[in-house]
């Protein structure tokens, strides 16, 4: 891992050992989530775009480790609404905080911030570009439920065209010999550039346009995402497919025993409510895992992990 800059902007620079090392630390935080390791540290959470779920997860992580939080949850209440540049905001906040966790609606904002900031930056999402802590918690959830990351059959369902989380997962899983199944309506298929990425990196994949009991029977991980109306150019097509990518309880009859269902949340209707009680459902625990993973990422950025 690059030890000179401790910012976490994307997972691109991490190799297999780095990923497993960070996930190993997340497991230690899960075993004892509360400590004073951040005593005396101030962490800024700058959310130029609202994201309650991610912000609460990061802020809880800081609080549980004894650090203090400053920041804002909506750019409308800050001077960026008066036309202040991102650079000026970052320079100002870096006078006060030891670490900046930021979410921004513009792509590349976190990388730029890491270039101008004297303190490390953790990217909590930059537009449609990167959201590394989400991917790390997805990986942690897979490792925890399957006991391994190697050789998994991972079925990705729903919006594979715009879904940032599914794209990052392809990149991060390249070290672990996965077999992917891409299940989506035609309009939201996995883009060619990512399929090309899979071919270049020896990642096996199959594509499906049907989502049924049979297609998911050999899955270890079923990763659901939302099919959003606003992604369709043809609304007739949306009406036709919108109910075809909903996971219902009876589709899980032939599922493997170890299958776990993941979802980055928020869910709308793509997982039927009756699935929640099924032992395969794992999405709420997955969100909880985000806390431990973020504790590890924060401490790593501050050089506190050994």
């Amino acid at each position: 891992m690059d030890q000179t800059g401790r910012s976490l902007i994307s997972l691109e620079g991490l190799d297999r050992e780095d990923i497993l090392w960070l996930l190993g630390h997340a497991a230690k935080f899960e075993a004892s989530p509360n400590s004073k390791i951040l005593d005396g540290k101030i962490v800024a959470t700058l959310f130029f775009e609202p994201s309650t779920r991610t912000r609460l997860s990061f802020e809880t992580a800081v609080n549980r480790l004894g650090g203090r939080v400053i920041g804002f949850s909506d750019a409308a209440t800050t001077s960026s609404s008066k036309g202040e540049t991102l650079k000026d905001t970052i320079m100002m906040v870096s006078n006060y905080a030891d670490l900046i966790i930021m979410r921004h609606y513009l792509e590349g904002a976190a990388r730029y911030a890491s270039e101008v900031s004297p303190v490390p930056i953790i990217n909590a999402g930059d537009g449609a570009n990167q959201h590394p802590s989400q991917t790390m918690l997805d990986l942690y959830s897979m490792l925890k439920t399957q006991g391994r990351l190697d050789d998994l059959h991972i079925h990705l369902v729903g919006d594979l065209k715009y879904g940032r989380t599914v794209h990052s997962m392809l990149t991060a899983m390249r070290f672990f010999n996965p077999t992917f199944h891409f299940i989506s309506p035609d309009e939201l298929k996995m883009p060619e550039e990512y399929k090309e990425y899979c071919r270049n990196n020896g990642i096996k994949f199959e594509e499906h346009t049907r989502f049924d009991e049979e297609t998911i029977a050999d899955a270890d991980i079923l990763y659901m995402t939302r099919v959003q109306r606003e992604r369709f150019t043809d609304l007739m097509e949306y009406e036709r497919v919108k109910d075809m990518f909903i996971l219902k309880n009876d589709m899980l009859r032939s599922a493997k025993e170890n299958l776990k269902i993941l979802h980055p949340l928020p869910r709308v209707n793509e997982i039927a409510q009756d699935v929640d009680a099924n032992p395969h459902a794992y999405y709420f625990q997955q969100a909880k895992n985000g806390l431990y993973v973020r504790e590890a990422l924060i401490c790593n950025a501050l050089n506190l992990l050994k």
């Binding site: 792509e107 590349g108 990388r111 730029y112 930059d126 570009n129």
Partner: protein
């Protein structure tokens, strides 16, 4: 310099300086801007829509008493990778320079992604050249690729 019919006769020969040849006709003024030719005071001849055996139509720029650094030349590669710079000393072509695509392009090209931070902050753009043969650039910030033909200058 390559003889391309009558185009050679349209302009005077250079004693010393640089002849930039094989410029696509629609890129002639991009070359003028990239090299800052509007700010130099030696004689300049600009030809466009000249017939060319190799490319159909081309542009030529002759600049007297001026030579260009590698860095200045590499800027041209993003708009026209096949440009040739003929270095003239005492009416002779002493060197034909082909331009090399650099590994990185800084501050010349605009990112095509309207949601990229570089289009909203007063900052320099940076692209990694990911495919030299096809002229594909990748924005260091938003990771979007720009292909040859889509490249817009700042």
């Amino acid at each position: 310099m390559e003889k391309t019919g009558k185009s050679e006769l349209l302009v005077a020969a250079l004693e010393n300086g640089t002849v930039i040849d094989h410029i696509p006709s629609d890129k002639v003024f991009d070359v003028v801007n990239l090299l800052g030719l509007t700010n130099i005071d030696t004689p300049i001849t600009i030809g466009s829509n000249l017939s060319s055996r190799k490319m159909g139509s081309k542009g030529i720029i002759k600049i007297a008493d001026r030579y260009f650094s590698e860095e200045e030349c590499s800027k041209l590669s993003v708009i026209a990778p096949n440009i040739v710079l003929n270095i003239i000393r005492d009416y002779e072509v002493v060197e034909k320079k082909r331009i090399a695509m650099p590994d990185q392009v800084r501050g010349i090209v605009k990112c095509g992604n309207p949601k990229c931070i570089t289009n909203h902050e007063p900052m320099q753009t940076v692209f990694d050249v990911v495919d030299k043969e096809n002229g594909t650039l990748r924005c260091r910030y938003c990771n979007k690729d720009i292909h040859k033909g889509e490249i817009k200058l700042l």
